[in-house]
């Protein structure tokens, strides 16, 4: 069993400004959540997008996590998410289980007109 998943994260529509102006980051995401280091009492489960969002907020974001993650652990409202090229609303949203090689895109709708 692999202990991490290779995930490509892409940022667009101003989202990249929160991630050091990087348009894409290829990263290794743990296969299981919650992480041992966290105090969460959640049952162990395979990594899903909700885990990914929380993990990104703590490991990749340098500042102002509130511009990315909402109080419910989802992305802040107004951020669109695509899973392998499709609207995450068609893929189970937060519950979508990550697979090795997945490509997840975050697009901000909040910037400018």
């Amino acid at each position: 069993m692999v202990d991490s998943l290779k995930i490509e994260l892409q940022f667009s529509g101003g989202m990249e400004l929160l991630f050091d102006n990087q348009k894409a980051i290829v990263t290794q995401v743990p296969t299981q959540f919650p992480l041992e280091s966290s105090a969460s009492d959640e049952k162990p489960h395979a990594a899903n997008i909700k885990d990914l969002i929380g993990w990104m907020a703590t490991t990749l974001l340098k500042e102002r996590p509130e511009l990315f993650i909402g109080p419910d652990g989802s992305v802040r409202s107004g951020i669109l998410v695509l899973v392998n090229g499709a609207d995450w609303e068609l893929e189970g949203e937060l519950e979508y289980e990550l697979e090795d090689g997945d490509e997840i895109v975050f697009i901000s709708t909040l910037h400018g007109g």
Binding site: E8, S12, G13, G14, L17, S77, G78, L80, L82, N84, G85, A86, D87, E89, L90, E91, D100, G101, D102, E103, V105, I107, S108, T109, L110, H111, G112, G113
Partner: protein, 412 residues
Amino acid sequence: MDSTATSPPPPPTKKPLKNPCNLCQSVRAILKRPKTGQQLCKECFFHVFETEIHNTITDNKLFSRGNRVAIGASGGKDSTVLAYVMKLLNDRYDYGLDLVLLSIDEGITGYRDDSLETVKRNRDQYQIPLLIISYKDLYGWSMDDIVKEIGRKNNCTFCGVFRRQALDRGAIMLNVDHIVTGHNADDIAETVLMNILRGDLPRLQRCTSIITNDTSEDSSGIETSKILRSKPFKYTYEKEIVMYAYFKKLDYFSTECIYSPNAYRGHARVFLKDLEAIRRTTIVDIIHSGEALSASVQANESTKLPTMSNCTRCGYISSNELCKACLLLEGLNRGLPQLGIGQTTKIRRMHDAAALNSTLASGLSVPNPTASSGTEESPNGANKESSSRGGVVVTHIKDLERLTTMPTLNTI
């Protein structure tokens, strides 16, 4: 990138298609429509998106053949998609429109200068001529200058008032019949909500109309020019605009204005998004509420707009002797930037006091409100030139002759 790149391609016809498109049934859906919940593939989404805007344009008879139409272009997502779609529909359905891009340079270093580069690329990509007009040229002040003078409080008031007039001035210079702007359904719902919360019924009326040529002070047209304004994206959701731009790989600029956190709109926006998560139809519901309320406002005599005439200084349509932009400029130029911020009655009192003060202090010639109000109401604005030259020191539209020679009409 190809999602199948990391696994061997699946043998055809084996598995049933995951999430088939509701329209063509043959391709994987990539978007769930916020309006209907329908799931669509990329090509069907493009088709539906474009066709709905075409229907909005034809159902509301926004344009007539031969119209010259300015697209208010900021380089942001909405106006970039608007320019692309206007061009596409004009070609596809042969509207016979003469399209131009009109951009306002507020003079905000690190923000507008970069976004104008995007507009210039759009000009070349879509082959639409572009005019850029600047606050500095029109008013003598850039937003950077204004913020240096007044700080960051209230600077959005200046910017908003100046932009509206600047678009009209630009439209006159371009000799257009019509200005289209990229306001989308989400923007309009936010504005409805904000106007209801502020009790601003005249604005409520304006923000819900798809097409306006009204003559209220800080709304669209100059009475004599009959320039229409419309919002072809009135029924288009922000999510679809952003997804369209993403899938079409359109080139847009996405940085927030450095001077405007616009906290109030931000809250309205988050509130709406939260409501929408619970109730899918929130956005259209609020737009409909706004329309219903403005219909009843219209029926109510007491909320009628004041009688309009022309600003005695610049000729812009105004219910007062000075239009809002001239009032704000007077404050700036006299070092009294609070002038024009806040309630109208207070503004007028301050204006009278300021006029008196400055006449006493520096001998500046300022039109006497009682003497000029009877004579300056030219119905066609023909005497605005003479009135602005009549010894008045503070002018913001630096004579129309100068404007027409401004060199920024970049034809391709």
